[in-house]
Symmetry: C2
Subunit: 200 residues, 2 copies
């Protein structure tokens, strides 16, 4: 039995789940998958989550599109995702690294406007100076105009989902270029929350 | 604006969210909170997640009880949680470290039998030998009889929720005793999934 699978420094992967807080959750999830072009990533779903692997830009493109397609109907939908790059416990398979850089879902995603509240955390592994990488990347998301401050164990981002995803991808890519060879980023993103409406 | 808040080596914290895939999600979440004794932890909810902080045993006791109370009605409910201990970006406040060790929710939790499918990952930070800690703790969960193998970026646990929580807490506590001073553990736990039923 294999104990641990991850990726190489080239492969980016995301393990994520979409949670529509609705009796129609199965339909919402299946529809969002159907509307998303996943031809440039390896993808596998199980009963807990879905894993996509491939070139970093396609992994972000696919997760963003699936989430936007799931939330555009107005239901309260939460994304939980762990992005990973550079895990030493590599498996070379399950990667679509030969694809070009043209994003398959960008045109569709650009048409969907969705306010989201997000908490994310960055974990640069195997590197003593990991707190410096974290602090640098909080500056990166701040430059994108979506940083709303820190909470215990996470940083908060608010704004249009496309802008928030751009900030997250930018922080992840910058962290990959740091002295840490293995980067993990966790994201919890919430759309159409009734709590949010009450607070506004 | 503070950029990053975490805990000291004494304080354990968890940032988590409960996702009932049901139109009744607000009632399910509020009921589960009401039925759980949170007097021995600091707790704060926002529109994205809930944070609990305090002695490690009470943090696990409270997260477990809230999840069991939310899922016992048979709805498909998912827990997403990040447990953390030893973050250097400390804030001393928001901790209930003077409480005793008597668990406030254990009697209630012991009465609830709930099969769950879980994926978890351990991130020992600021430590070059982090992969050794991860591999050691996969052995720990295996000893609890709930380890089902590795998937990309995570390890899978199946069984009764109480056994799975015991394995997770054991792995987290053992990792705290490793040479890594800052331990993060992410958990995605699913109960009553229709996908699960179809697969069985």
């Amino acid at each position: 039995m294999k104990e641990f699978f991850c990726g190489t420094s080239e492969i980016t992967g995301a393990r994520f789940s979409i949670h529509p807080m609705s009796d129609r959750f199965v339909d919402i999830i299946l529809s969002s998958l159907k509307e998303t072009d996943t031809t440039k990533v390896w993808m596998k779903s199980d009963d807990v989550s879905t894993c996509v692997r491939g070139r970093s830009e396609h992994v972000f493109d696919v997760v963003k599109a699936i989430y936007l397609n799931a939330s555009k109907g107005g239901d309260h939908v939460v994304l939980n995702a762990t992005f990973s790059n550079g895990c030493p416990g590599d498996s070379a398979g399950d990667a679509f690294m030969a694809e070009d850089s043209i994003l398959m879902n960008d045109e569709l995603s650009q048409k969907i406007n969705q306010e989201v509240a997000t908490q994310f955390a960055l974990y640069p592994l195997g590197f003593l100076g990991y707190m410096d990488v974290i602090i640098d990347q909080i500056k990166t998301v701040d430059q994108h105009g979506v940083f709303s401050g820190g909470v215990h164990y996470a940083s908060r981002l608010d704004g249009d989902a496309k802008k928030v995803f751009a900030a997250l991808e930018s922080a992840f890519e910058s962290a990959r270029n740091s002295d840490s060879s293995h980067i993990v980023m966790t994201v919890t993103m919430s759309a159409n929350s009734p709590s949010r409406k009450e607070g506004q």
